[in-house]
Amino acid sequence: MRNAGRSIALTLSLLSLSGCGGIPKDALQLAPEALADREMQTRRFETRDESALLRASAALLQDLGFNLDDSETELGLLVASKNRSAVEAGQVVGSILVAALTGVAMPIDTKQLMRASVVTRPIGEQDEQIAVRVTFQRVVTDSKNNATKREGMRDPAAYQEFFEKLSKAVFLEAQAL
């Protein structure tokens, strides 16, 4: 009887492993920080020339080493990505130490795919301004090709720098929303 109970418990835990970890409850819910994120990722420019801003954004993405994956100028969209090293010295040293102590090689982060999308949108009473919003995310994979990090990138400094460069390129001030 105890055996049967154990086997049922085991079976249930196996079944749950085999795949019903469903979508998190808040995955498509507006997060409390959504507004702050929007402000961090958006600037407005005093111009009606949406395509000039898109062209400047595409050139800026190139400057930053991104390759363009897709674009739809009529909707104000640029999609770009780049593959880069994700090796971090600290992790390498840690892995070597663990290997020396245990004889087991710990996988280390090796590659990252960084993605960006830029969306422009006319705003204001008479569409007299253009809002530009950029968002970044990345997937980090380790030496065994497993994804170790999948995340949106939330460093305010990165967004700040992006818009400073865009502002210089279009000779227009990048204003907060």
């Binding site: 498509l28 999308s117 995310q137």
Partner: protein, 136 residues
């Protein structure tokens, strides 16, 4: 021994559907699924609606993958330890409305739970300043 037999018996049914069958699999009742993924809005501006969908996806933490103005389509991916991919297609519905149809996949599975779609359309409603109307 009994445990092993029970385990094997449990795993067998999981394995017998060939994975190729996933290509044209429709999962949940097609009609019910489409209904939870679709809303109508009182506007005729398809392009404007697509732009608002794009902004809404960005608000929800997505990075957009692609968009096509002629198809009225937008796809994006949200990475937050998990991967959630979503496609939204906006089309004219009669002469006075647009249809917004969304579908999502979470990791390796289609999202067939109505709640995430309700949440998406709630966010979209706010951005549209229009009510999302249930159809079908």
């Amino acid at each position: 021994m009994r445990i092993i037999i029970v385990l094997i018996l449990c795993l067998v049914p999981l394995g017998c559907a060939t994975s190729q069958r996933e290509l044209l699999a429709t999962g949940e009742s097609q009609l019910a699924l489409r209904s939870m993924q679709t809303r109508a809005f009182d506007t005729t501006n398809v392009k404007g609606t697509v732009r608002i969908v794009m902004a809404t996806l960005q608000d929800l933490g997505f990075v957009l993958d692609q968009a096509n103005v002629e198809l009225g389509s937008v796809s994006g991916t949200k990475l937050d330890r998990y991967a959630l991919r979503m496609t939204v297609i906006v089309s004219a519905r009669g002469e006075k409305q647009v249809n917004v149809r969304a579908n999502a996949q979470y990791e390796l599975k289609a999202v067939e739970d109505p709640v995430p779609y309700q949440q998406f359309f709630q966010a979209l409603e706010k951005a549209m300043f229009l009510t999302a109307q249930q159809v079908e």
